[in-house]
């Protein structure tokens, strides 16, 4: 019997495959396509304290084996999420991870407090609540100017420290590939009490509409994701997994069971599937089963046997 159940930051998962933030909404439409308990967990779209309208203009663009997006964190705000989405999101029999974004330190901490409070109340009432917060420190559009929170170690530290104080929930910090020193930032997060790290977020990229003679996106740059970035993401996950002892969640271009094994061998405790959900809306229906079959063929009894062996 091959086992793929695992644990992430103290939360037991039926398998290591999570749906990545921004590509899965709060799960709802996918639940019509397959039972979401087939996933280890789902990460909510990025939420901020207050609702955000998102960016104007083109928001999505296709590139060779990738897509670029500039959604700009459009979201209904944490209160609306708690009121209208959380209970359904927690009803699918899979782990609930809330992706928390923000523009200022206060927005982050107030958001974390709201989430924590609501979650504890639900738990007290015996209901499934928020299993984990994923802190996104690489939001576009923030006060400090662009990706600064995710780039400079000092700025990241302030956010991680404050949010860590604001919540008792298990805390993942999602790192940006644009960090000036990724390994250093990972170690900082560990030192500040993060329970785990997830990476990578999209890579800053550009596309130009040569007919219109302007950037395709209203904000000059946008984030690249999808199979194109997988080799870069894998390298970064490998580097980070060897730099810290907290678990690392691998993200970036994963689109088959082989890719998942690569990330686990590189040291990931679990993985997230982002863009691939668009390539195959039913990806999560079969990936766990495909992973088991692959491990069977390769004679790998459990993920622990191969995790971080490279």
């Amino acid at each position: 019997m091959i086992s793929i159940d695992c644990e992430l930051a103290g939360v037991p998962l039926s398998n290591p495959i999570l749906a990545a933030s921004g590509t899965f909404g709060f799960g709802k439409p996918y639940a019509d396509l397959y039972p979401l308990r087939k996933l280890g967990g789902i990460v909510s779209k990025g939420l901020t304290l207050n609702p955000r309208p998102g960016n104007t203009g083109t928001r999505l663009y296709e590139t060779p084996s990738g897509i670029m997006n500039s959604i700009g964190l459009e979201n209904p705000g944490i209160r609306a999420f708690l009121d209208s989405e959380l209970s359904e999101m927690a009803s699918h029999g899979t782990a609930v991870i809330v992706n928390l974004g923000g523009g200022t330190l206060r927005e982050y901490t107030e958001g974390a407090e709201l989430l924590t409070e609501a979650s504890l109340k639900l738990q007290a009432a015996g209901k499934r609540a928020i299993d984990m917060i994923e802190l996104n420190i690489s939001c576009p559009n923030i006060k400090e100017g662009g990706l600064a929170f995710g780039v400079e170690n000092e700025q990241a530290q302030a956010v991680v420290r404050a949010v860590r104080r604001a919540t008792a929930l298990p805390l993942l910090v999602k790192l940006s590939p644009g960090a000036r020193d990724l390994k250093e930032m990972a170690r900082m997060c560990e030192a500040e009490g993060a329970d785990g790290l997830s990476l990578i977020n999209t890579i800053q990229a550009m596309a130009i509409d040569i007919r219109e003679r302007r950037s395709v996106f209203d904000r000059a740059y946008a984030g690249l994701s999808g199979p194109a970035i997988k080799p870069i993401a894998l390298r970064m996950v490998h580097q980070v997994a060897r730099s810290v002892s907290i678990p690392v969640v691998g993200i970036g271009g994963i689109s088959c069971a082989e890719d998942i094994l690569e990330f686990i061998m590189a040291g990931a405790a679990a993985v997230q599937i982002g863009t691939f959900n668009f390539i195959n809306l039913r990806a999560g229906d079969t990936l766990a089963e495909e992973l088991i079959q692959l491990m069977d063929r390769e004679g790998i009894p459990s993920l622990d046997d191969i995790r971080g062996i490279i």
Binding site: G54, T58, R59, L60, I67, I71, E74, F278, I279, R282
Partner: protein
């Protein structure tokens, strides 16, 4: 996975693809199609053109890589489709006109079937295509090649108008309709990631609010859309 029954070329770059299976869809809804593995990344949104008990068909124009790959499909080939998605056209009230420009005719065949007494107006820059289906269903088909089909439509004669076509054409129809009582609904296009409302990439402004083309649309009341935005897409 579904099977291709037929993929016929109707005109330069224009094809009709028929796929086996029993689907139900409302007029104006669309499917996300792909007949390739992971390259290109995204599936392509295509409106339902026609439905029978055991098939669904699409009318499409070869635009770039994706539709070019679709055009190479042959009977017996496999294709992936998810859907139907979107709200489609609303229930029409009173006298109804369907106005299509070029490949914008695609979703109107199903509409013509659902609203048998609708007047159909189809405009083409050059050679018309896909007319047989319309003539079989409707006795009231006006076709124009070259020039603009909007000239042929008198909005004051209708209570409901459904339009699909180039933004410019729909905009001028909207301007013409403004002074009448007709309710104009237009089918809008924007680049789509998921097709199911989770990625927020297909938003447009309608009635001052951010709406998703894939789940709130693709059909919107012409009065509520932001034409400046649509022209830019």
């Amino acid at each position: 996975m579904a099977l291709v029954i037929q993929n016929v070329k109707l005109a330069h770059r224009i094809y009709r693809l028929t796929i086996q299976g029993s689907y139900s869809a409302r007029m104006g809804q669309f499917f996300m199609l792909r007949c390739w593995d992971t390259y290109p990344v995204l599936s392509r949104p295509i409106s339902v053109h026609n439905l029978t008990e055991d098939s669904v068909s699409f009318l499409y124009r070869v635009h770039g890589t994706g539709t070019w790959l679709l055009s190479a499909l042959q009977a017996g080939d496999k294709i992936q489709l998810e859907g139907p998605f979107g709200q489609g056209f609303p229930e029409p009230q009173g006298r109804t006109a369907l106005v299509g420009g070029g490949i914008g005719a695609a979703p109107l065949l199903l509409a013509a079937k659902e609203i048998p007494d609708a007047s159909v107006y189809l405009g083409y820059t050059s050679v018309p295509f896909g007319l047989t289906g319309f003539h079989e269903i409707s006795r009231n088909v006006t076709v124009k090649s070259g020039g603009t089909i909007v000239d042929a439509v008198d909005p004051s004669r209708y209570d409901t108008i459904f339009a699909c076509g180039p933004v410019g054409m729909m905009h001028s129809l909207a301007q013409k309709t403004e002074s009448t009582n007709a309710e104009l609904h237009i089918s809008v296009e924007k680049r789509m990631g998921c097709g199911i409302g989770v990625c927020n990439s297909c938003t447009v402004t309608s009635a001052g609010k951010s709406r998703k083309v894939c789940t709130d649309g693709p059909v919107f009341p012409a009065k509520e859309v932001n034409w400046n935005d649509l022209h830019r897409l």
